[in-house]
Amino acid sequence: MTRSANASERARQAQDGDEETRYQAIATLDPVDDQELALLLGGLGDASWRVRLAAVERIVNASDASRALPKLLETLDGGPSASSRNAAAMALGRLGSISVPGLLERLDSPTPETRTAAAEVLGEIQDRRAAPALIARLVDPDANVRNTCAEALGKIGGPEAGPALLAALPQADTSLRVAALDAMARLQVVPPVAMLSELAHDRQLRRAAYRLLGWSQESAAFELLVRGLGETSRAAREGALAAIGQQRTRHVRHALEPLARMVRSLGEHIAHIGESCLAALGAEDPMVAAGALTVLGWLGDPHYAPAMARVAEDEALRPIVAEAFQAMGPGVGATLKGTLGDLSPGARTAVLAALARLGDASILPGLVEAAQSPEEAVRSAAIDAMGRLGDLRALPSLMDLLDNPDPEPATAAAAAMVHIAGRSAEGRAAVLAVCRRRGAAPSQPPALYRVLGQVGDPDDSVVIRAAFSAGRPSVRIAAARSLAAMGERGAFSGPPPPELTEALDDRVPQVRAEAAKALGAIAWASHGARPTQPAPSNELARGLAAALRDEEPTVRAAAALAIGRSGMRALAPALKELATEAGAAAEAVGAAVRALSELGMADSIMLERAASHPDPEVVKEAVAAAARLPDPAGTALLLGAAGHARWDVRRAAARAIAARGERALIEPLRRLAATEADPLVAEAFADALRGLESKGA
């Protein structure tokens, strides 16, 4: 049977009494055919939502959907039912910018319903061409039109929307004010606090007015927020809480301390505020929950803690829960005993970690159990919390974890032990005691050497050096890293141990690389921040020079950096060779450039070559080095890099220009700051410009 022969059957089915038959028929109609398009437009008014939505889908997905535009606009003007007009509005919104001219015309329709519908769809489409017409309609004689235009402007935004809404506020009626305030919240445009204070006297405006305080920069906003917390209306209180949550996202914690003091000084009202915050913890808007948690933290009543802990089910709110518990102090843990078991592993661990920060020792068994979790995130958070807790009774469990064949929990346990050692002299002594007891026996887990490297005394290097004879490469790697850590913190200086120089010949590339890094760290520790020209041992110089020619790029890079840090100017020619070697890995080339710069031996020819390297990290090394290059070639290189195709190179150039401090670069910088399209880079150019200008002032 041909398609035309089927047409009448499809038409019949599209109007059948059975919903499913109509739905199936609509899905087969072709909007290219005028008759079938008419059936689809008729389907927009169908009694069933499924059929209406199916008709919208067919119309907007047609190959030439614009054909339906006049009819859709007609339906919007005066469709037979509210359902059909709504479905037409949905279709027009889905068609996007091609609907805009027709919708703008309808903003002048004599029928308020049409003007409202047009404004609503324009808001959905978010085409900025519509803003002037919507602004003009903020004084429409019909209240629905005015309100919808304000809402639409909130969605569309643009430079004129916020000021227009602000200007409309004084003369507006209450419903327009509500709509305008909500729209301004979307746009983050804030009226002065004095105006919001006035508006908050109106019962219907309170919620929106308080909500906007979240974006206010005025210190007077805090007083008004305190007023908001004491409101009798739940909506108004939640507006204030959302604003506090918003303020918290915009500032560091202590910036809200004046507000916290005001809240705590409310005396008899505190209990009432606490209860309303408790009710707001389940609010759908996460900002309200964030504000409620923040205030409950300030109030400090541990009875609120179980409900607060349950909010940690939302991953995004976990840090705020932790912060609130921190503000409440150590009494929190005792009230949470019955709650922790009901929480998901992630939430439970987040709460335990927060309690660990408070030093609540009663949670240690819970942490030990969570440290065995099959879920990595839970496990690592629990181990980290054991470190933060700083309780020495955690050491046996952490020592057991050092032996874990999975390097992740073992490494986390090592970090936790370092944390404990850093908290007190007693902690350090206890950590070193258990590690030394274990370290006296050969073949220890790699993580043990990590602890010794970060906590141990110079004498502990004996145990670490002995580990270089271990069969397992992971132990030799850990030993090298351990010596590097000792070097970094100045616990090991003087001539490098022979084991490290020998390790430059290790059969495992990663051992060689880590040995080179350790040599650099120890050299740095020996010579301080300003490298001199020490007389390195012949073995060390030979070893590092050989490592520069290693087959592994990571070894070459580590050796180059070690030479730079050691101040071995005699090896500069070998570094230059590496920096300009065709085909050398980017990591090694970048490291050679950096090392030469540290030695003060980078030259313009080498840097220009590096600046045209395909790897942006090499280019950034060249740019950083050019800041220190005394001749004009450095300036030229930096200006060239400021026009590089990659944003991160341009940003590095901005920083290098600032570091170079050459006032002649002010004019070029001004041009760059004005023309840079990437906001992050433009900001870096502007910062550099301010730096240079202030230097000359």
Partner: protein
């Protein structure tokens, strides 16, 4: 939430965020919008701790150049995409699946008596086991060849999925009580019954890896819920092209509650079932 509240962790600056985002995107096609910076910061922070790195710039360099960079890129992808999930998530959609889609499948596949369902981005397996239980309890497929395949880019979650052992909190939805008879309480944890377990297989897969996806057989239903949020538009199109290739004609695709194919592809038709909206691969016109 657009702000990190962590008290003593290194902040992820905008610049480092962009560099890390681009690197991860190059590696596996996951794309993180600007507003996800603080989520990225929170999720990657344990990786910095595990590697003993002091800031995100060092982490970026590690991912670029370290010998272990490939393994670490996988670990980063895993940390960034692993979400806690639970049984019977999005009940409306599962009702549409159980009450409307499965009966259709029972008719359309009656001849070959075979049903293939793909849970793409299965995380720790709750979705795949929920599907298996719904298929089983429908009573429509007794004696059929059933294969439910769960895949994820994160290897760690697959180990949990294969173990099929869950804590109380995985049953947080009221509807999930109906599933409980298919679990045994072992050592305080709920372990999935073998009759369900044998219906489900799990495997590692990046949905953007055309070769890996190419090895898949055709599916009757694809669940891919709350996964597309990690892809930019070109990646979404690629994934959906792969799904389109692997879905049989008339097969269904179920996305997350807030996900839509609007302005992404017109290869699927939107079907308005009574319980929910789902997508379907159109049947070619003869």
């Amino acid at each position: 939430m657009k702000k990190s509240f962590d008290l003593d962790t290194p902040p992820l600056g905008e610049s480092e965020f962009r560099l890390l985002r681009d690197l991860i995107y190059e590696h596996c096609g996951l794309y993180f919008q600007d507003e996800m910076r603080f989520l990225v910061e929170r999720r990657l922070m344990p990786r910095l701790q595990a590697l003993g790195l002091r800031d995100y710039e060092s982490y970026y360099r590690y991912l670029r150049y370290d010998a272990g960079k490939r393994a670490e890129l996988e670990a980063a992808a895993e940390a960034l995409t692993t979400n806690e999930t639970y049984f019977y998530r999005e009940p409306h959609q599962l009702r549409a699946f159980a009450e409307e889609i499965l009966p259709m499948m029972a008719v359309s596949n009656a001849k070959e008596r075979r049903l293939r369902i793909w849970s793409a981005g299965c995380s720790t397996g709750e979705e795949a086991y929920t599907i298996a239980i719904l298929v089983k309890t429908s009573g429509l497929f007794d004696g059929w060849d059933i294969d439910i395949f769960g895949c994820d880019i994160a290897r760690g979650v697959l180990a949990v999925a294969r173990a099929g052992s869950y804590g109380q909190h995985a049953f947080r939805m009221p509807e999930s009580d109906l599933l409980r008879r298919w679990f045994h309480l072992v050592g305080g944890r709920w372990t999935v019954d073998d009759s369900i377990r044998k219906m489900v297989n799990f495997g590692h897969m990046n949905l953007l890896d055309d070769k890996m996806v190419g090895l898949m057989g055709t599916a009757d239903v694809i669940f891919c819920r709350n996964v597309m949020i990690y892809f930019d538009l070109p990646a979404k199109k690629r994934v959906l092209r792969n799904f389109h290739d692997k879905l049989r004609e008339g097969g269904f695709m179920l996305l997350g509650h807030s996900e839509s194919l609007l302005n992404v592809t017109a290869d699927f038709e939107l079907i308005h079932l009574r319980n929910d909206l789902v997508y379907r691969k159109p049947v070619a016109k003869k």
